[in-house]
Symmetry: C2
Subunit: 699 residues, 2 copies
């Protein structure tokens, strides 16, 4: 290699961060709307900051404890000394990208509402730009962290002794692999805590406001309405960002480690990093194509967002061919097909998700139809739709696994095949800058709608923000499909990397399916996502119960509230949701950390591999089911509200609201948290591999 392609990684990172900064500045320059709009946005911003601040305090305690444990393990030679510090930076950057993305999102809501007052396209541009800031900050900080560690470790091991039994590049990649655990832990807290917050506020607001008091959604008289808007930001923006940050860096470090294990040396590390950099630049280019005409239909708006994603994907598809050729040489050009299969699989999963969750198609309509016979049939039909929606994504991911394994040469060389599977995850995630932008766009548009409603803007503006919001529901659903698909591939790559990591510690494993430890591991792993969902759903129920009591109290005690002459105490609801979310996120998070270690210590590392695989399989299927159930219920309710089956206020509508409420924790708490769960459990296993091997009861 005459040219050091690796330099593209920091270059791509800087480009992403600079462009994000440019977008952020241009958003902040936009008109903020009238005083009322500013006031509402400010309340949401303050609430969201207060939540994140408390969350970071809570997470800091956790990080301090785990850092200490890792430091002790490092001093006892279970780990390389850099691991505890890599753990810290992973957590720091992940938290930072969530914070920045969320800050811009809260700034963008009233500005989007104000821009929508001018034209639909202006509104779309502001909301989408805010999403793009999130997307580009995630990929920019991810690449930055990876680059810093790579260059540092490369320098260090060039000037200091390399750990016994390893070569330089293996020493680098096996250390970097551990760095994902920080990002994973941060992501889990963000997803679980944010998810509980957002749905406790949402469910609580709806149960008392819509159902009991009969006031509309986003009504300023509802004391939980600001908390609900805060929730969109802390759950759907910050949580989603941290989740995908984690997939992004996780897939890159796992691929690097597998590339080295496959004997590709530094080129195996260069490819994923450079592909990520190319994807970043392609994403930036793609953002310029997201434009809309005035009075566009849903279809046209969706096509506008899709155009950006497709152009970015096409750019990656073309450029990565030449890069892989140059970096790996013509003899490894087959790896390119793995990239392509991941890229295509990501797009296909999005399309399938749209089919199952959009009211333009049969599945969601069938749920709306079931509303005629009441809430029970809505729930039954919704669960049936969610369950049947798991088939295609599983087949798509299965096809991507087989294609990337065999096309990249797995039939002749097992390790190359695993590298192919891992790189298909990198291919899927390479355009994250723009796919995450379309995704984070959703809550911004949702908040803009809320802002317009609460500020009492005119029907024309409301119509436009409604159009933007409805589009956001579709992109949120497809974004979830993408997040789950990439999480599954990343988790598989991490499991494969775990196997290699265990081998580095000199332990050979019997990975036969007939090994009873593997079987038992598969069963326990298959159960864990269910148990985890049970914890997070109960948590939402309990937290929502507290909001319900508070909203009822305010309705009763604040005189003139319903007449509109007195203002509710929004802050109190935000505070209650914050405290409840922080309390409730601890147990599920501990489960994710302790379960894989407990399995490893009790039934051995082979059982642990079975456990991780079982959790990935059932977690993947369950996550798709829950996300799509929730999306379909939400849109079925909206479809009824458009006037079908009796429209708003009918018994059918009431039944539809029940489905939507059940779907809330499904799609925004439990389902998305599963993505992080399966990755974090693999990460924890990797980091503690040496400890588990030496201390397991079951050798």
């Amino acid at each position: 290699m005459s040219f050091d392609f690796l330099i593209l990684a920091p270059v791509g990172s800087i480009a992403a961060l600079l462009f994000a900064a440019y977008l952020a500045v241009s958003i902040l320059k936009k008109d903020q709307g009238n005083e009322k709009m500013k006031e509402i946005a400010s309340a949401v911003k303050i609430g969201a900051r207060a939540y994140l601040k408390r969350q970071y305090v809570c997470v800091s305690v956790f990080f301090a404890v785990v850092f200490t444990i890792l430091l002790i393990l490092a001093l006892k030679n279970y780990l390389v000394i850099f691991v505890p510090f890599a753990f810290l930076t992973g957590g720091l950057f992940s938290g930072l990208s969530g914070f920045i993305g969320m800050t811009i999102a809260t700034e963008a809501s009233n500005r989007t509402a104000s821009a929508a007052g001018k034209s639909l396209n202006s509104g779309l541009r502001v909301a989408f730009s805010s999403g793009a800031v999130m997307g580009l900050v995630v990929v920019g900080l991810g690449l930055l962290d990876l680059s810093i560690w790579y260059y540092f470790l490369n320098w260090y091991y060039s000037t200091h002794p390399i750990p016994v039994g390893l070569d330089k590049i293996t020493a680098i990649t096996s250390t970097m692999l551990c760095f994902g655990m920080g990002a994973s832990s941060q992501a889990l807290f963000a997803r679980v805590g944010g998810g509980i917050f957002t749905k406790a506020a949402d469910v609580g607001a709806d149960l008392v406001g819509k159902v009991e008091a009969g006031i509309p959604e986003d009504d300023p008289r509802n004391p939980a309405v600001i908390a609900d808007n805060v929730g969109d930001n802390v759950g759907d923006v910050a949580g989603m960002g941290a989740d995908l940050y984690e997939s992004y860096v996780g897939s890159i470090v796992a691929t690097s480690a597998l590339g080295v294990a496959a004997g590709l040396g530094i080129a195996g590390v260069t490819v994923p990093l450079v592909m990520a950099a190319v994807g970043t630049v392609s994403s930036i280019i793609g953002t310029f194509f997201v434009q809309s005409k005035e009075e566009a239909s849903q279809k046209v708006l969706l096509a506008a967002l899709r155009k950006g994603v497709f152009i970015s994907s096409a750019l990656v598809a073309v450029i990565s061919f030449f890069l892989i050729w140059k970096i790996l040489g013509w003899e490894h050009i087959r790896v390119y097909w793995a990239v392509l299969s991941g890229l295509i699989a990501g797009i296909l999963i999005g399309l399938v998700t749209e089919f199952y969750t959009s009211s333009s198609f049969k599945p969601t309509k069938s749920i709306a139809n079931a509303s005629v016979t009441g809430p029970a049939t809505v729930v039954i039909e919704g669960i049936a739709v969610g369950m049947s929606s798991t088939a295609m994504p599983v087949i798509i991911v299965g096809a991507a696994i087989l294609a990337s394994y065999f096309l990249s040469g797995g039939a002749h060389n097992f390790s190359t095949g695993l590298y192919g599977i891992a790189i298909s995850a990198v291919g899927m995630l390479s355009t994250l800058g723009i796919t995450l932008a379309t995704d984070a766009y959703g809550p911004v548009a949702d908040n803009a709608g809320g802002n317009a409603q609460m500020a009492g803007l005119g029907p024309e503006v409301r119509k436009r923000t409604d159009a933007l919001d409805a589009l956001g529901n579709t992109t949120a659903a497809t974004g979830k499909g993408f997040a789950i698909g990439s999480a599954a591939l990343t988790a598989l790559a991490l499991i494969a990397a775990y196997k290699d990591q265990v081998a580095l510690y000199g332990k050979e494993m019997n990975l036969s399916l007939m090994n009873p430890a593997i079987l038992v591991g598969l069963f326990i792993g298959g159960m864990i996502p269910f148990f985890f969902c049970s914890m997070t759903m109960s948590a939402v129920g309990r937290a929502a119960g507290k909001i319900v009591i508070e909203v009822r109290r305010q309705f009763k005690e604040i005189i003139g509230l319903m007449a509109g002459t007195a203002k509710p105490d929004y802050g109190r609801c935000v505070e209650i949701a914050t405290i409840a979310a922080q309390k409730e996120m601890i147990m599920p998070s501990l489960l994710a950390l302790i379960a894989p270690l407990a399995v490893g210590l009790l039934i051995g590392v082979e059982g642990q591999v079975g456990f991780l695989t079982g959790a990935t399989v059932s977690g993947f299927v369950l996550a798709i089911m829950m996300a799509n159930c929730g999306g379909a219920w939400d849109n079925a309710k909206k479809y009824i509200e458009e006037g079908y089956h009796g429209g708003k206020g009918s018994l059918s509508h009431k039944a539809g609201v029940v489905g939507d409420t059940v779907g809330d924790p499904f799609k925004d708490t439990s389902g998305p948290s599963l993505n992080v769960l399966i990755k974090l459990m693999s990460m924890v296993s990797i980091v503690f591999a040496s400890f588990v091997i030496k201390n397991t009861l079951f050798k």
Copy 2:
């Protein structure tokens, strides 16, 4: 061996059948109650017969087609010529045991109601005896079929040439292994068809009767009330019987095959058959201990049933120790611990199920609490309870797998360990005669309650039948836990036997978890139970919709129906449910047959092993979740009806009814059908192994 222990199998079979006949005759001698009671029972009986008749016609067509396919494969040397005939007898005996059990159950409902007029104990004895007929017929016919085939094949291969490459005992066991497919297919139709029938009728009756018209459950004015009672018999009695018949014979043939593969020869075949025989006699003895005092509480009644089960289990535990010692010799006495672990695991799963589904404990109470905030929170909390209830059964089964593998010597000899796992399933199922009796008791008591209600018997009798019915809900839930646990172990034994079967055809497999075909198989297999549940739940929804329309029509068109002066057309509802169930059961059943073959043909036998394992893992977890969700919702509703949270007619009660209705297809259609699904898919793979190996795209 001086004494041929195998003779105990036919002896046990005859004992079971004779005792069942004695019980049946004694039930038929009981007082049938007044004319009204006889009339109602007769309507249910006629409906149930009509359903089963149509089902058997439909299934016959299926059996004829598959028989022909198997015959062609046999003639082309893919299969031994006996397989198609074994397939037929398996289906025949399975269907016969369902038919006999259901006939007695329909005869017992009015007799139980009448006996309950005398005393609680009399009612209990009649209902329980009827359940015992079912249990003993299942084990009796199962052992009979197995004995006939064993003795026939043993004679045949003693006097005719043995297939090339096999020894006599392998030839016998590998043929008998295929015989389970007939039983599995029959069981699937019984579970799916019966499950759709029963819940379509139940949901349809409730939606129009309870919710729209406001008349109580089991009200004779409801046109779907007889169909609902018929459903209990065809779904919960005949379906459950066929399911467990299948587990019973499946676990025995799989254990026999694995015993031979482990080099235990004929002794390896003798042990499971003889243990089953011992369990049968122990079950008969156990039935004598099921007695109750007058005015007994729920706890005392449950203890009465439990006493019978515990005494039978203790007898098996003691006797099988000596039998294994005598048959396998002292050097294999460790196999005994595997038996014991299965026996204990079965009992523990039952206790855990009771904890999660009985309103005496926290989980079900928490669902009732959630009713205060409406149907959405009832559904969320119910799903959370169902999901968290999966943890303990998985851990119990995991512990049983590891214990039976290692205690029986798997660490030194892999094949012996697999034999241990299989024999733990036989241990769990050995007392099936009595566990199934307690289970089939439930629907009989339920029907007796319905009979007493419709016939307008006095409050004292109603109180007693209510007590018997409430007990039936608990035993039905624990019975389901037991059915699922035994199905999971049986499926594992079948998968292990499949691996050996493939080896007999000369194909060596790479069963590493990192084999991409295995990974993809695991993913697809993990998804199939979800997809299958989606199909069966939608089917219930569609079929219930037809009942709803019919009930509404009758309420509208039959003048004097609500006043009680005119009678509804019960037969029409039965007919509609029958036709709908027959139509709807076809697609899910075809999925179970085609999916494993499609996977095998597309991604090879290794992918197929992954597929079966993935389906067993996720099917097991999902089945527990669905069964327990449903049971807990049902009992939470009953708890509210006892007067908590506002009692009958309150908003809480309405919310509870929504949960109960959602739970209906969960617990009585989709959940239980999964047991059969996972076993049938393994059976299909075994039978078609040679065909798949030779014709797969992916060698």
